[in-house]
C-alpha cells in the first residue's frame, strides 16, 4: 500500500515539465502587457500635463505649436462615424449571406479567400485606391466621404470575418429546430441566430472603431487636411483628424513643445479606450441576458 502513491521518475518529470510550461506561458503573457504599460505610462507622464478642457475644445494656434486639438478630435469622430455607417450594414449583410445562405462551393470559397486577402492589403494601397475611386472617379473630392469610404473598405474584412465567426458559433441545431417548425431561413436568423451572435458582432465593430480612428495613410490623400481654420460642415468637406494631426505635430512642424504630440496621442488612445469600454459594457449586459 505504501508504494501505491509513491512518485515514480516519470511522475516527477511530468510534474516538472508541467510547471516549466506554465511559467513560460505566464511570462509570455506578462511580456505582452509590458509594452502596453510602457506606452500608456509614457503618454500619461509626458503628455498628461497638457490635457485640459481648453486643449480638447480649442483650435491649434501659433502654426500648430500651441493651442488645442478640437478640429482634429471632431474630425476623427466624423470619419469614424461615417465609416461605420457604411461598413457595418454592408459587412453584416455580407457575413449573414456568407454564413447562412451561400452554398458551400468554389465561388463561396473564392469570395472568402478574397475577403481574407483584402484584410492583408497594406493601408497605403487602400489610400491610393480611395484616391482613384472616390476622390477622382466618383468625384467626391478630398472629403470626409472619400476618406470614410476608404476606411470602410479597409475595415470591411474585419467586420465580415468577425460577424461570420460569431454567426457560425451559434449551434446549427438551433436553426434546424426553427426550420423544422416551418420558419424560413430569415425567420430563424432574425429570431434565434442574430440575437445570439450580437456580442460577437459587436466585438468586430469595436475592433473596427479602434483601427479606423488610428489609421493615417488612407485618409491622408482622401480627405484629411494638414490644418483647417474651420470645422467641417458636412461629409463633402475636408477635415482634420487626430491620427494625421499626431503625425504632423510630431514630424512636420518645427518648434512644437515636446508635450504636445504626447498629449495628442494620449487623447487618441483615450478616445479608443472609451469607445471600447462602452462597447464592452454593452456586450457584458447582452451576454448576461442570453445564455445557452
Amino acid at each position: 500500500m505504501a508504494t501505491m502513491f509513491a512518485e515514480s521518475a516519470l511522475n516527477a518529470r511530468n510534474k516538472k515539465v508541467q510547471g516549466l510550461v506554465k511559467t513560460l506561458f505566464m511570462l509570455m503573457t506578462l511580456l505582452l502587457i509590458i509594452p502596453v504599460a510602457i506606452i500608456l505610462g509614457t503618454l500619461v507622464y509626458k503628455g498628461g500635463g497638457i490635457i485640459s478642457i481648453d486643449f480638447l475644445f480649442t483650435y491649434p494656434t501659433d502654426g500648430m505649436t500651441a493651442g488645442g486639438i478640437f478640429p482634429a478630435l471632431l474630425g476623427t469622430v466624423w470619419l469614424v462615424s461615417v465609416a461605420l455607417l457604411a461598413s457595418v450594414p454592408i459587412g453584416i449583410a455580407a457575413a449573414i449571406y456568407l454564413s447562412e445562405y451561400a452554398p458551400d462551393n468554389w465561388s463561396t470559397r473564392a469570395i472568402n479567400l478574397a475577403i481574407i486577402n483584402l484584410a492583408g492589403v497594406p493601408s497605403i494601397v487602400h489610400a491610393l485606391f480611395g484616391v482613384g475611386a472616390f476622390v477622382i472617379f466618383f468625384g467626391f473630392g478630398t472629403s470626409i466621404l472619400s476618406a470614410s469610404l476608404t476606411l470602410a473598405i479597409m475595415t470591411l474584412p474585419v467586420v465580415i470575418v468577425s460577424t461570420r465567426e460569431s454567426l457560425q458559433a451559434v449551434p446549427p441545431a438551433f436553426r434546424e429546430a426553427c426550420w423544422n417548425m416551418g420558419a424560413t431561413r430569415w425567420q430563424a436568423i432574425r429570431k434565434v441566430v442574430l440575437p445570439n451572435a450580437v456580442t460577437g458582432i459587436l466585438t468586430g465593430v469595436i475592433l473596427e472603431v479602434s483601427r479606423t480612428s488610428g489609421e493615417t495613410a488612407p485618409i491622408m490623400f482622401t480627405g484629411a487636411a494638414f490644418f483647417l481654420p474651420f470645422l467641417p460642415q458636412g461629409i463633402f468637406d475636408q477635415t482634420m483628424a487626430m491620427s494625421l494631426h499626431l503625425f504632423v505635430v510630431s514630424t512636420q512642424v518645427p518648434g512644437v513643445p515636446e508635450e504636445l504630440p504626447y498629449g495628442v496621442a494620449l487623447v487618441l488612445i483615450a478616445m479608443v479606450l472609451l469607445m471600447n469600454s462602452l462597447s464592452i459594457g454593452f456586450r457584458m449586459y447582452l451576454r448576461g441576458k442570453k445564455k445557452w
Partner: protein
C-alpha cells in the same frame, strides 16, 4: 393550405382510419451512397407508428425526407413519393406550411436560447399570433400537455436552457405541440432522458394519440412495444418488415432478422 386539398384517402389493409402519410418507393442517398432504399409504408391517422432499428439504418434520414428537411442537406438525394394528406410533398410550393404541420422532437433536447415562455411562443409568433392573452393560453396549454407546466409555471421567464435534460425534452415537446401539428415526429426522444421522465413522456404520447398522428423512431425495442400500434423495422437502409406491434412481439414476425433484433440476438 395542405388540408384544403386533401383527398379522401383510400385505406389500406382493411383499416378504417384514413391514411395520413403515404410513402411510396422512397430511396435516400448521400452524395451517391445509398442510405435508404425502396421504402413503402403508410401511416394512418391517430396511430403511433413505431420505427425500430439499429444505428445507421436510415431512420433519421427517413424522417427528414418526410418534412422536406432534406432541402437543407447538401448532397442528400431523395427519390420516390411522400404523400401528406394525399399531397405529394416534393411538389409542394409552400413547404413552410408542411413543416409547420409536423412537430419534431430530436434525440438531444434543443432548448432554444430564450425563456421558457418564448420557446413555446415562438411557433405561434411565427404564424403571426401577437396577442398576449392568446399566446399565454397556448403556452400554458402546451406546457400542461407536455407534463411540464407544474414544474415551470413560476419561472416562465427564466432561460429554457437552464432546465434539466428531461425538462428540456418536455419543453421541446411543448414547443412541437405549440405548432398545433397534425403529425408529431419523435426521433429517439428518450436517449438523454431519465427513465422516470421517459415514462411521463410516454403517458403524454398515449394521450396525444387521440388528437394527432405520431411517428416514433426509437432504439428501445420495448418502447415501441409499449407505445406503437404498428411498427416498422429498418435495417441497413432497408425496411425489413411492417406489422402490428403486437404481432411482431408475439413471435408472428415473418422475417428472421426482425425476430432476432426484437429478441436481442443481433450481430
Amino acid at each position: 393550405m395542405v388540408t384544403a386539398n386533401a383527398q379522401p384517402a383510400t385505406s389500406a389493409g382493411g383499416d378504417a382510419r384514413a391514411v395520413k402519410l403515404s410513402v411510396r418507393n422512397l430511396s435516400i442517398a448521400y452524395s451517391g451512397t445509398p442510405a435508404l432504399s425502396g421504402v413503402n409504408l403508410e401511416v394512418r391517422e391517430n396511430e403511433i407508428f413505431g420505427i425500430i432499428g439499429p444505428a445507421n439504418s436510415g431512420k433519421t434520414s427517413f424522417l427528414k425526407a418526410l418534412n422536406r428537411m432534406n432541402d437543407f442537406e447538401v448532397g442528400m438525394q431523395v427519390q420516390g413519393e411522400v404523400l401528406f394528406n394525399g399531397r405529394n410533398v416534393n411538389t409542394l410550393k409552400n413547404v413552410y406550411a408542411l413543416r409547420s404541420r409536423i412537430g419534431v422532437v430530436f434525440p438531444l433536447p434543443v432548448g432554444l436560447p430564450m425563456t421558457i415562455y418564448e420557446n413555446v411562443a415562438l411557433s405561434p409568433r411565427l404564424r403571426g399570433i401577437k396577442e398576449k392573452r392568446q399566446l399565454d393560453e397556448i403556452v400554458e396549454r402546451c406546457l400542461y400537455r407536455a407534463a411540464l407546466w407544474d414544474e415551470v409555471k413560476d419561472r416562465l421567464n427564466s432561460l429554457g436552457s437552464l432546465l434539466s435534460g428531461g425538462q428540456q425534452q418536455r419543453l421541446t415537446i411543448a414547443r412541437a405541440l405549440s405548432q398545433d401539428p397534425e403529425i408529431l415526429f419523435l426521433d429517439e426522444f428518450s436517449i438523454a432522458v431519465d427513465p422516470v421522465t421517459t415514462m411521463r413522456i410516454e403517458d403524454v404520447l398515449k394521450d396525444l394519440r387521440e388528437e394527432m398522428t405520431i411517428v416514433l423512431v426509437t432504439n428501445l425495442v420495448q418502447q415501441a412495444r409499449r407505445l406503437a400500434d404498428r411498427t416498422a423495422f429498418f435495417l441497413q437502409g432497408e425496411c425489413v418488415e411492417i406489422g402490428e406491434t403486437e404481432d411482431l412481439f408475439t413471435g408472428k414476425a415473418t422475417d428472421q432478422r426482425t425476430i432476432d433484433y426484437i429478441e436481442g440476438r443481433f450481430g
